[in-house]
Amino acid sequence: MPDPKHNDAAAGDKRVETEMQNDKARLEEVLCSARKVAEQAEVFSASARATTVQFEANELKQVQSRESSSTALRIFREGKIGFAITSGGGDWEALVDMAVETSQFGSPANFQFPSSRDYSKVRIFDPKVEKIAMERIIEIGKELVAKVRGHTPDVLCDVQITKGTSSVSLINSQGGGGGYDKSFFSLSLEGILVRDTDILWVQDSESSCRSDLVGIPELTDRVVWQLEMARKKATVVTKLLPVIFTPHGVASALLGPLVLAFNGKAVFEGASPLKDKLEEQVFDKKLSLWDDATVAYGVGSYPFDDEGVSGQHLPLVANGVVTSFLYDLQTAALTGKKSTGNGRRAGGGFPSPAISSLVLKKGEVPFQAMVKDMKEGLIVEAVIGAEQGNILGGDFGGNVLLGYKVEDGEIVGRVKDTMIAGNVYQVLKELPGIGEETRWVGGTLQTPPLYCSGVSVTAKGN
């Protein structure tokens, strides 16, 4: 059936192809002129196209198409690293000059660009994503809103649905390089419910490289569950309490300090509490954690990192013992290690160690059993201000944006005006339980609920 929109998309595809050829030629050209002035050089290029459909206050509000691209050049000149980047339609001819300028002050080049060209395949592209019709996306949005309002008619929902593709190309003077395409599809749903001056936020999201792995009913079920649990209000008094962090809560409160501590740079400079803790029992025996760039259709997955090193399955904690840290080429060279394939570039910029996807191994305790086990405690879904403490030292905390009180093994309602505070190295040292139900949060963390004890809770009025 003739469909004008589909024709647009087909025309778009053709343009992508020619652009890709242009990109490749441009990369070669930049590399070629860089080699004239530098001992080694690397050109990295990334581009993305995405369409986002946005609902605001239950209604379709805006359709956005975005394209972005960047080309970055890293050179070793007179033994020092120079770097420059151009984005959008920026002037890529100026790249070499800018990189040469910065190289005068750059840090010593202490590594080689890798010469690898063969990478194991990682499944991250689903051709179906591009073909999802705008009508279908709008339908999904309406479905999400209707389902949540079916439970609580007064709730106002903001929905964002994004489909898109991205491509990465890399070449370096040592003969290494490669390229890959990636697709992504994500749903995010946020509800706000106002009663007098009481504001309740509920929120969840799903994302994957494959559209059929994004669970629409699962998403609405979780948001409806949040609304249900928050229906009544409960109060807490200031004291130490056991806390169950839901997968969402783990991401919101505990993840930040942990990710920082496993960064090879922080370890190298001694700013990580895990420095000198390799092969030591730091966490509860039940806790195992790994970084995995090879998860099929994971939004954090890749065949090679942004420096051309293969992505891998990297155990960080095995049964509570610290087993590895995250390294890029430069940091690995400084510490006499090998890159773990975690050299990532935020916005296409300078590479730095970062996670691909983190997986926290699931345990054996059903969520319901954790709740039943608590005489008095909290369930935490989200905190605000978690990034504001001394997270380098492992502190976590903040105001409980969404959390529920448990009394005698039953969830009795939502808590407000409540703060939690703790330190991950104390709290994760002995865990009463790790959940048996695990799930992805935000596309890059897979975690079960964590049952913790001895978290400081501070409440208003006492």
Binding site: L60, Q62, G90, E101, I384, Q388, N390, L401
Partner: protein, 452 residues
Amino acid sequence: MRDLMADALKGHDADYIEIHFEESQATSIVYRGERLEEIGRARSSGGNIRALVRGSWGFVSFNHLDGLKAKVSLAVEEARVAGKESFELFATEPAVDTVVPQLRKDATTMPLATKKEFLDSYNNIMLSSPKIQSTRINYRDVKRRTTFATSEGSYIEQAKTDLSARLTAIAREGNEIQQAGLSLGSNGEFSAVEGLNEKAREIAGRAAALLSAPQVKGGEYTVILDPVLAGVFAHEAFGHLSESDHVYQNESLRQIMVLGKRFGGEHLNIVDDPSMPGLRGSYEYDDEGTAARKTYLIREGVLEGRLHSRETAAKMGEVATGNARAINYLFPPIVRMSNTFIQPGNTSFERMLGDIEEGVYVKDWYGGTTSLEMFTFSAGEAHMIRRGRLAELLRPVVLTGNVFTTLQNIDAIGDDLEMNQGGGCGKGGQSPLPVSDGSPHIRIRHCVVGGR
């Protein structure tokens, strides 16, 4: 450029269309300990189109200007997909103008060697202080030229510069790690990063002192906020709730935020003002071409106004305040703050301190965030107050409050307004946006301080 844009805007069936184009150049420098870890230059260009058709928006961002008219058509078509009920944007006078910043010492034109010389000095001072394990310095300056044209006849060219930096000292003893830092920024004046040797020494000294400092016992306290943290408080506790895009489609929130409602004592005045000269949140026109103006959010304790885009103003029957801003061409403008501050009162710091039996004095900041009703903000430095005097140094604390009660609990406002230019603001995936905030010292009763 003007003709190109005017031509691309012609002949579309839309209620309103605007085109943005921008070119920018940036320099960034990152230190980690003794290593100058990253030094980079960046150039960028691109633009976007926003089209309004029957009440819905289409938005297209692009890298190249070629085929601009077809891109405008795509935005119009997208808007049509969503189209529902029409509305008129708040009417503003189309503006034709060119804005060029006047700087004494433009950071973006300073040689890299000079930038490095200053930063080296601060880094060396911190690194050579006792117990300092490592440091972080993040420096960035950017120059941005934007061109803006609308179907209503506006054509505005603006150039803007921005500078931001953060110094952090990390102290370590055994397993204990503590940090202290300083965020600063300017509208591109390089002087913001000059002459900080004493500050660098102070930060390093504080980080080391925190290693042996006690943690505050969590609970409710009377707190005094220094001008920096009080500015962050004004931004988090009330500024975000004043952004009309949170409110305009939410009937219940509109009722809570009805103009004339009392939020605090008669001494409380909170203002947002992009027309103040020379600050990071200053500009002549916002990203919808609306001229910047001063807005009282709270006057004498009562809700007097809020921040608007042309859409939210129209839908609430209020006036567009010139607060529609986008961080760059990849995003549409949304309602944002500019320079937000609490106006000075007349209580001296000594008097504020004088009648506190036990309390906490909090200074400087790590960050702040809000859920509109509840907010948190964290102090970079904290001291106990005992019997009207500053006592021992505490570990950094996070404070929290509820906007509907906390503003009422401000019982003293100082006479020493200062504007803080560090950091940046994030909202709706757009971060960091250059803003400034400020306040004199303020005192808050019954403030929840998190602790262990």
